[in-house]
Amino acid sequence: MFKHINWFNSATVIVALFLLLPVMVMLYQAILGDSELGLHMLRVLLAEYVSNSLLLLLGVAVGVLMLALPAAWLTSMCRFPGQTWLAWALLLPMAMPAYIIAYTYTGILDFAGPVQSFIRDWTGLGYGDYWFPEVRSLGGAVVMLSLVLYPYVYLMARAAFAQQSVTSLEVGRSLGYSQWQALFFLAMPMARPAIAAGLALVMMETLADYGTVQYFGVSVFTTGIFRAFYGYGDTAATAQLATVLLVFVVALLAMERLSRRRAKYHSVATTDKRAEPIELTAGKGWLAFVLCLIPFALGFLIPVLQLTYWAVFESNEWNWDFFSLAWNSFYLACLAALLVVALALLLAYARRIEPGQPVKGVVAMAGFGYAMPGTIIAIGVLLPLAWMDQQIISWIQGLGWSSPGLLLSGSLVALLFAYSVRFIAVALSSVRAGLDSIKPSVDYAGRSLGHGPWGLLRRIHVPMMRSTVLTALLIVFVDVLKELPATLILRPFNFNTLAVRAYELAADERLVDAAPASITIVMVALIPVLVLHRAMNKRPKQN
């Protein structure tokens, strides 16, 4: 038995260290690299980067909570017109890459765009005669990121609300809480670990975003990192800035940890009975409808309509390679999702059965990659893989054979590795949220019945965690589908994806021509979103 666990533990530590490798490579360069430039940037620009990043984080946090929480609670606990389709429609903005929504809204709302032109034609006013919010600003970036990131919190909060057993709420109600008091004093606090986990993901995604802030001209931390790398071509300065970014991440993770520790709630439900939905009628029902419609309409419907219009009426970029692009994107995202979730299960599970310090530590750190911009991860992946490739090549040549080429760094292995580093945190967070809601006593019971760790996972946890595992698969799938910077650097020859195509045309300022690829990303991402929704709504069978 012990032997078994040790083997399992060391496998876990090796996987976690592997996932940490790119981050460690960057740290190593930051310490070793001698950079005048790093100092220059720190002196001149760091204050601005830090304050803008903090404002962006704060704004997105507020925006995401305002969009996600009412919608999650209403769709899981109430019944109102349109509730059934809104419940899944609210997930759809997830399929929208942040840089694409940013381009699209700029096209709609910019000074030269249709909305403002209409206002000018209609009122006869000229530039400067009226006030209109500037899309390309810090505020604009907050709105864009909130619109596409709120589904992370929505998804987790909804799962948490749905899992809350009717008993605790009924006890609350019987003790004299009103419906609203039950919401604020019971449901919300009980869902707090899930909400905090979702929010931590949103924050990290915000820190890693480059496309949106770059297009909007907002100087945040990633801007500095990219400037050091692309502008100054200085890897050491890049690594130094990335290290400062890590401090942000550690702080965020610590905050999330803290909120989890204070709120260790396990699902105590012994019945699977869900709370009777609250019936919202007439005015209230319509209010709920509107509250849930807003995030969906702004985050999905309007940009998709605009993109569709561009794609259908204005772009000539439809052609047959779309099938191969869509297929590449799809199978890459599938492979990555399966791999990343498998790794996350391994890590989360090891942490649960063997909560010793070394395992806990490496598992916690394995998630650092999520807040790192894809470019940084890509460099961190490239260095060790290329080194291994050189070793393989010299070994094979030593045997008298010809060089096999770059087996690792020149193939999809590099991409899958980068995706694992970048997205393990998402999968881990979701899987852990599921694991944490299973009482430890269930583990003990399983172990006493003679199940080993593997049997425990397969026979007890996986069925109980179906919805969280599916959630993890979905989020990683969609994230990989949208991922751009790492894909751009690491992909093999002649291997393009939809995101690459959309980016290339948009970066060449052919926004309209980027629309067909953008809309296809959204369509491909819809498949797992809908599958997930169906799977989550099917109640697990009672034994």
């Binding site: 430039l37 220059h40 940037m41 001149v44 620009l45 700029t106 910019d110 000074f111 030269a112 032109s117 000229g126 530039y127 390309r136 600003s137 770059q214 297009y215 909007f216 001209g217 801007t223 990219f226 400037r227 790398f229 692309y230 502008g231 071509g233 890897t235 204005e314 199978y331 492979l335 470019t375 890509a378 460099i379 490239l382 260095l383 290329a386 490739d389 050189q390 090549i393 060089s403 080429g405 770059l406 760094s409 020149g410 193939s411 999809l412 292995v413 899958l416 751009l488 650097i489 690491l490 992909r491 093999p492 020859f493 002649n494 291997f495 195509r501 290339e504 970066a507 060449d508 300022e509």
Partner: protein, 340 residues
């Protein structure tokens, strides 16, 4: 069962590593020019010669990093970038090597290629001042430096300093003047911005047309693209704008290049050189001129009509190599001047 497992694992390995056995010589290209701006030419090349071309596109410095990390084992034969400074960076980093081709030396003017034959320009792009015809008297325009004048207060639109075209423009100012003067000019320019830099070149042109600002710095092919668009609103934007060629009494207007280099690790050197030479052929140069409205570098290839309508300019003759050397310094100047 076992058999099917091993078969499927083979399939997975093939899918993941993308093992492809080259049947014949192929040229492997790392390009920071977008696929749409190189692939059609490669297809023509393959048709004419039978040599396959494999392509990865990406951002220039990321591709340089990939080349550097892969070292001798790198499969890349050619590096194509949309900016001279990056080619120069590849040269100083020891990532590329000289090509001894009489043809390349003959057809590409010395200003547009490396003095050690390590890289060669393919097309050039101009970055003049573009102004609103109805609101700006071109008599008030003269040089890039003069845009720092207070008469332009709140009237200038230009994109972010992260953009390489702006970096190489400031590098060209540094090549012509001393650091403190350039810093003064750039600070003045930044103080005259109508709005914080955002968006791309086309966005700046639209903002000028819409009246948010009166002059913009932008590459001519963006204006040409608007002029040739089949959308009436794009044509309206282009029709309301004019091109002013600055610094005509001095060093000339700023031009940058897109260019190509042979990597140090190149395996298919002969084929790679063949492709380089193809890219300065009449056929290829004509394609760039007509499809992307760029200036061909080869003498007798005609520019697109729409570019010709912008008039002829005296081009700054500073060598691309100097601009490459000054790139970092330019970025520092922009940082100090507050150009975000």
């Amino acid at each position: 069962m076992l058999l099917s497992f091993s078969k499927s694992s083979l399939l997975v390995v093939a899918l993941i590593t993308g093992v492809a056995v080259p049947v014949q010589a192929a040229v492997d290209v790392y390009s920071s020019r977008k696929e749409a701006l190189v692939k059609p030419l490669f297809d023509q090349f393959t048709q004419a010669t039978g040599v396959q071309v494999n392509l990865v596109t990406g951002k220039d410095d990321a591709l340089l990093k990939r080349l550097q990390v892969e070292g001798d084992a790198s499969p890349a034969d050619l590096l194509i970038t949309a900016d001279a400074a990056r080619l120069h960076r590849a040269k100083t980093g020891g990532l590329i090597q000289a090509v001894d081709s009489d043809l390349l030396r003959q057809v590409i003017p010395a200003q547009w290629r490396d003095s050690d034959n390590q890289w060669f320009g393919l097309t050039s792009r101009a970055r003049p001042i573009i102004y609103a015809t109805d609101r700006v008297d071109p008599a008030n325009l003269s040089t890039y430096e003069a845009l720092a004048d207070s008469q332009w207060q709140g009237r200038i639109c230009v994109r972010s300093s992260s953009n390489v075209y702006n970096q190489s423009l400031v590098a060209s100012m540094l090549a012509a003047g001393d650091m403190s003067n350039v810093l003064e000019s750039v600070t003045g320019l930044v103080n005259n911005f109508a709005r914080p830099p955002a968006g791309g070149d086309t966005d700046q042109l639209r903002a000028v047309a819409a009246g948010q600002c009166d002059v913009a710095l932008a590459n001519t092919y963006y204006l040409a693209r608007l002029a040739r668009s089949d959308k009436p609103e794009d044509q309206a934007v282009a029709n309301s704008l004019s091109v002013f060629w600055p610094n005509q009494d001095g060093r000339g207007a700023h031009f940058n290049i897109s260019g190509v280099a042979l990597t140090k690790s190149a395996n298919s050197q002969a084929e790679a050189q063949q492709l380089m030479e193809f890219m300065v052929s009449r056929q290829a140069q004509d394609w760039y001129a007509q499809v992307n409205n760029e200036y061909p570098l080869v003498a007798d290839v005609a520019v697109a009509d729409v570019l010709a309508a912008f008039g002829n300019a005296k081009a700054d003759t500073v060598s691309m190599q100097t601009l490459g050397d000054l790139n970092k310094k330019a970025l520092m100047v922009m940082d100090m001047a507050g150009w975000r």
